[in-house]
Symmetry: C2
């Protein structure tokens, strides 16, 4: 078994070794730009950690690790267009830097390349790996569609929100773990518990992201602070605040999310004030704690030695208390 | 062996039987709209014709037929955004009707669904089918990137143009045939000749499309006439005309493709006049004839009874003399 740090170093190295220096430049320059931005490499890390937990040769999991990162970046390239996000990992987003057309097309080829990498895995594993990636990408698209719908809906519930972030974010974390387990020939039951772990961890991860959108340091976070508020994203913070607020404050909050103001600073400031007045950060941190417990419960049930679960346990702690 | 007409009826029926009536609507409404527009269903037809030529049970090829049509429509949804095309099959394009964001996202899910359909094929065929689709979609993205590049380049050669349309259009026709042959367990040599047939036929098909862009009836063609000219697409007509024209006319042609005019009617009229002055339509029809001969040569070499090639022979004739 390898240490968490060693595996992360290994994962980062894999990406340095890939060569996407291809023609036409129009297509592969935004592609390389995206991958060079780095990021946490969380999804490939999960592939590797799962493979390692079930004692697989890490080399065998490398291509699947690249595949999930490409698939993830494909969704980011397109989401950033739809959300009009100016920054990603502290740098201009692809659509901002290269234009919408190139961001669409580079995203498309990135998605195809994800399958190309999966096809390099052992042939007998290919159908199950392709199925896992395909199912999850359909879910991610559905999640993104709900996310866009929610921006204009006024009756979004917390339950709907959790479903949306499960689809948009958590299922890909679960699928990354599942792919690692598939490559390691894990038993079906363990694979299911591992997916469950990934799903709950993914929900906790996204709720933490919602908190970071309001309370974090731009230099660490790499995205514009309060952009969820500007985009009228009805995150868990908003939904909890509306639930807890008195009538006047609830009305004010809702009106900020309806209004077409251009004074974004004032909007962000006032909304965060209201979030703080009702202590919603504590509520959401409590939720994160609950989902983390559910994740750990699932991890506990997996049929491998306790010591082999240590890396995922540590990662779960790191992710749900992260600052970026 | 089935008749060409019967197989086309069969193909159209497959699409009527698919149910994409799913949630969220944001995602699946543009999806259904696209498929309901119909179109020639050429790519699924090619899957079926290839399977039929090698005596496969057509039922076994149905899912691959749906997959290639979904993959093709995915590329159309995104290309129409990049090319700002208002019409497709005589109706508003998805991005025009539903907006860019929904066109991006519906295209994405359509691509994922293509793999979902491939996964329904016999498991032992899945790796080869996924590989065929993946390779071709990377090529299609590369072709689309070259196509966009060519709009602003002034030194595009005919050879580069043929490479671009091979990538953007012809390889998907070749891949559709190959998938049908894969499902029918055709021998490798025949499969290669069949792909070659598809490639040359695809080039001829696209050259015919270039002609139809200038000389056809909107009601039959379903796209805006002269849109290649408006978009400064350096089609084979333009490249041939510049080659044949005297200095003054060549300069005029080139300047029309550089100028940012808003008088599109005048631009189209004058460019087509120059195309006609130099008889480029005849040249291109000759090229179409040559590529069709190459296609038929490849078909001749395929290792099945002559009579089983009849449908593809007929289709090749129909496609390269079509009016829409």
């Amino acid at each position: 078994m390898n240490s968490l740090e060693d595996i992360l170093v290994y994962v980062k190295k894999i990406f340095e070794d890939q060569n996407f220096d291809k023609q036409p430049l129009t297509l592969y320059e935004p592609f390389r730009y995206t991958l060079a931005l780095g990021g946490k490499r969380l999804r490939p890390l999960l592939v590797m950690l799962a493979a390692d937990m079930f004692s697989a040769d890490l080399k065998k999991a490398e291509n699947a690790a690249v595949a999930v990162e490409l698939a993830h970046n494909f969704t980011l390239l397109h989401d950033d267009i739809m959300d009009a996000s100016p920054l990603r990992r502290g740098k201009p987003t692809v659509y901002q830097k290269f234009g919408t057309d190139k961001a669409i097309l580079s995203g498309d080829v990135m998605y195809a390349k994800a399958y190309e990498y999966l096809l390099k895995c052992d042939t007998d594993k290919v159908p199950a790996l392709v199925k896992t990636l395909t199912t999850v990408l359909i879910q991610v698209c559905e999640g993104q569609a709900y996310d866009m719908d929610f921006e204009t809906r006024s009756d979004v519930t917390k339950r709907e929100y959790i479903t949306m972030i499960s689809l948009k974010t958590a299922v890909l974390l679960a699928a990354s773990l599942k792919m690692g387990a598939l490559i390691a020939d894990a038993d079906a039951e363990s694979m299911n518990y591992l997916s469950e772990f990934g799903l709950y961890l993914g929900i906790a991860f996204q709720l933490q992201d919602d908190i970071l959108d309001c309370w974090s340091d731009l230099n660490e976070f790499g995205k514009v602070i309060g952009s969820d508020i500007v985009d009228n994203k009805k995150t868990i913070l908003f939904l909890t605040a509306v639930e807890k607020a008195d009538d006047d404050d609830a009305k004010e909050l809702i009106s900020w999310y309806l209004e077409k103001t251009n004074d974004f600073q004032k909007k962000k400031q006032r909304v965060i004030e209201l979030f703080e007045k009702y202590g919603v950060r504590d509520d959401v941190e409590q939720m994160i704690g609950q989902y983390t417990i559910k994740a750990i419960d699932a991890l506990d049930k997996i049929n491998v030695e306790e010591s082999r679960k240590e890396n995922l346990r540590t990662l779960a702690k790191q992710l749900t208390s992260r600052k970026k």
